[in-house]
């Protein structure tokens, strides 16, 4: 309650929370693009999504340690994670891609734990940060600050979203991906190499997450166990936005970011992540009710 009073007494704080929420929300959206893609095309809910983000963060960290500016780590992380995603598809995911959703959730969940523990063994459990070397803008006499790296992250997320839409609409591979998403069997009959399509989709997802991870390392911190909240956030974003609409994913991401910032401020930081999960439950219940209503209407 006190926190709400502060907010009313100093409305300028809302501006800070709003801006921060929008900017970090874009990063959440970036992670969610891939989940939407994999979910839509392969009917797989990738629980290891956050772990790809974590690995991307470590790529940025080690490149930074090697003296390379971490902004260059974004493409490098994307390429490395693409290879990893591809390899994981070829070794694990292709075994579960046509199976029940439950099987693939379990498989990716296991994959997530494996990646976490491997990272813990390889990189250690220490918390790392990657300095972006960028500064902060101050507005309104220091009452509002905007970190430049967050702005870059937001613009990047927007550009990747546009590029993704273009890729899916225009490029040959994108068309094959969409065809496979609509009907894998039919696509196969028409000569689309669906295995290739799946592998590319999964690799692309990992690549986007990797790039997001490099940004996460520059904005916050990285450690082997940071994955789960990112998986939960992207799951929620995709549940809200649907699997076939990248633009909606972006907007839902922004919305989640803002909601989280305000929840963190008014309810206290300890409920910031809890709020995400609570919201997820509410949204799932609400969707169920709505679906049930639609069914009744149809029958």
């Amino acid at each position: 309650m006190d926190n709400l009073l502060i907010l009313f007494n100093a409305p300028i704080l809302s501006v800070q929370l709003l801006i921060d929420g929008l900017l970090v929300g874009a990063v959440f959206a970036l992670v969610a693009y891939g989940m939407a893609l994999v979910w839509g095309v392969m009917n797989i809910i990738n629980i290891a999504q956050g772990e790809f983000v974590m690995l991307g963060g470590y790529v940025a960290y080690y490149l930074y340690r090697a003296g390379i500016h971490p902004l260059f780590a974004i493409p490098v992380a994307a390429v490395l994670l693409f290879i990893l995603g591809w390899a994981l598809y070829r070794s694990v995911i292709y075994r579960v891609v046509d199976r029940d959703l439950f099987t693939s959730i379990l498989a990716t969940f296991g994959l997530g734990i494996l990646l976490q523990q491997l990272a813990n063994q390889l990189f250690g459990a220490d918390v790392h940060i990657v300095p972006s070397g960028l500064h902060t803008w101050t507005l309104f006499g220091g009452m509002v600050t905007i970190a430049q790296i967050k702005v870059i992250a937001c613009v990047f997320a927007l550009l990747i979203g546009i590029a993704l839409i273009w890729f899916l609409k225009r490029s040959r591979m994108g068309q094959a991906i969409r065809a496979t998403a609509q009907n894998a069997r039919a696509a196969r009959i028409m000569g689309v190499d669906t295995t290739q399509v799946y592998a590319t989709t999964f690799g692309l997802n990992a690549a986007i997450c990797g790039a997001a991870g490099a940004l996460v390392a520059m904005i916050w911190i990285i450690q082997p166990y940071l994955g789960l909240p990112f998986t939960a956030r992207s799951f929620m974003i995709v549940v809200v936005a649907g699997v076939g609409n990248i633009g909606a994913v972006f907007l839902a991401g922004l919305g989640l970011g803002v909601a989280e910032e305000f929840a963190g401020f008014t309810l206290g930081a300890q409920f910031q992540t809890a709020f995400v999960f609570a919201l997820l439950v509410v949204i799932l219940v609400w969707r169920r009710i709505r679906l049930a209503r639609q069914r009744r209407y149809l029958s």
Partner: protein
């Protein structure tokens, strides 16, 4: 196609086999002239880094004691040995392993695991079997109000962690001719047993001085962003910001307070060294105060290792990195056992327990003397400040090697 799963299975089995083999202890059918200690430490899982420091600390002390001829009990000299198990950073596993160490490996003396949570899981078991456990890494004050008789800790318990920061704050305020009761403080503490104790200590201290707490945020265990809390701090302009959220909290408050230009007169946190804020974010970390159990530059001295800095040299030579306090307090736990064996003149667990309880010794790690609950009351917490990118001890003033920069710029 069909062969592949079998190959995978075989591969998995062989990995599993190798893992179990390496985890098997060298059987504790110890020769007559060896004292076997047991320890469950976190070699994998989220505490693996600190678990490794703990193990290194134990090993270094064991090696040193054995090098110097071992422990003299009665007319006989004994070498020391430790049986380790990996508790995977999970309390349930730790309890299981303690049970195994005691009933299967017949270990009579236990060294502690890493973290309060693990210690909390193991203490009831050592208590049940009347096996003394000396630990250097379970600081939660809640370990010492349960009436355990066989648990002893070499480190300062949690409620002291940030008390010294408030003392320093009050001291500096008085120097400026102001009343400490005019001070307003903001706190952000994780909601785990460790940080809750610290918070309680801070609250008691604030009450003593009549300071006002204006922000009292609890941080989540999977903390990844402190913007919301810091926005509040910026609006309310307190005189001090106190944070405890393990390495994540330290790294984040350093990064984001700098980024958001939040600069109260004092920022104090725990776990700066494990977050490596001075090395990784020298600019942002400048002036931040850090609570620590121990530092190599302190003026402590004792048998086996000599001074704190000699200990540090030895540690660095053995493991290639400067000793974090987790290593030092673990080594000190071994030294407590050694001293107790000698004073008890016996290897009977009960007699050793009584000898431990009567410990009053000086070590490289500081003085060690246990109160009736088993916690070390002879050693104060120290407070670092990051000055020109280096850790300088600024409190308690008695051991300080630098003057505190206050207020923060």
């Amino acid at each position: 196609m069909y062969k592949k799963p079998i190959k995978f299975l075989l591969m998995g089995l062989s990995i599993f086999g190798a893992a179990t083999l390496s985890a098997l202890p060298a059987l504790s059918l110890a020769a007559d002239n060896t004292i076997v200690l047991g320890a469950a430490v976190s070699l994998t899982g989220k505490y693996s880094t600190n678990g490794k420091h703990t193990k290194n600390g134990y090993d270094l002390a064991i090696k040193r004691v054995n090098e110097l001829g071992g422990v003299k009990v009665g007319a006989k000299r004994y070498k020391l040995k430790v049986i380790y198990y990996d508790d995977e950073s999970t309390p349930a596993r730790g309890a299981q392993l303690a049970e195994r160490l005691i009933s299967q490996d017949h270990v009579k003396f236990l060294l502690g695991p890493y973290s309060s949570g693990l210690t909390k899981a193991i203490a009831p078991i050592t208590e049940k079997y009347h096996i003394p456990m000396v630990e250097g890494n379970g600081a939660s004050v809640s370990l010492f109000n349960k009436g355990y008789r066989y648990l002893f800790a070499t480190l300062s318990t949690t409620e002291y962690y940030l008390k010294s920061a408030l003392e320093l704050l009050a001291e500096e305020t008085k120097k400026q001719g102001k009343d400490p009761s005019s001070l307003r403080i903001a706190m952000a503490f994780e909601n785990d047993p460790f940080s809750r104790d610290i918070r309680q200590g801070v609250l008691d201290e604030a009450k003593k001085y009549g300071m006002k707490v204006v922000v009292d945020d609890k941080l989540p265990p999977d903390l990844s962003d402190m913007t919301a809390t810091l926005t509040k701090v910026r609006a309310l302009k307190p005189d001090a910001l106190l944070v405890s959220g393990h390495a994540k909290g330290a790294a984040l408050v350093t990064r984001q307070a700098h980024e958001m230009h939040v600069r109260p007169a004092m920022i104090a946190t725990t776990h700066c060294d494990s977050a490596r804020i001075a090395q990784n974010q020298p600019q942002a970390a400048e002036g931040i105060l850090c609570a620590s159990q121990w530092d190599a530059s302190l003026n402590y001295k004792g048998p086996w290792f000599g001074t704190a800095s000699q200990y540090a040299q030895r540690f660095k030579k053995a493991y290639g990195y400067a000793p974090p306090y987790q290593g030092a307090e673990s080594s000190a736990a071994v030294l407590v056992f050694v001293s107790a064996f000698q004073r008890a003149n016996s290897l009977d667990p009960t007699k050793v327990r009584d000898a431990i309880s009567a410990t009053d010794m000086q070590t490289f790690y500081g003085n060690i003397k246990f109160d009736s609950t088993g916690k070390n009351i002879a050693k104060p917490m120290v407070l670092y400040q990051i000055q020109d990118g280096k850790y300088k001890v600024v409190a308690p003033t008695k051991w300080a090697n630098a003057k505190v920069v206050y207020p923060l710029k």
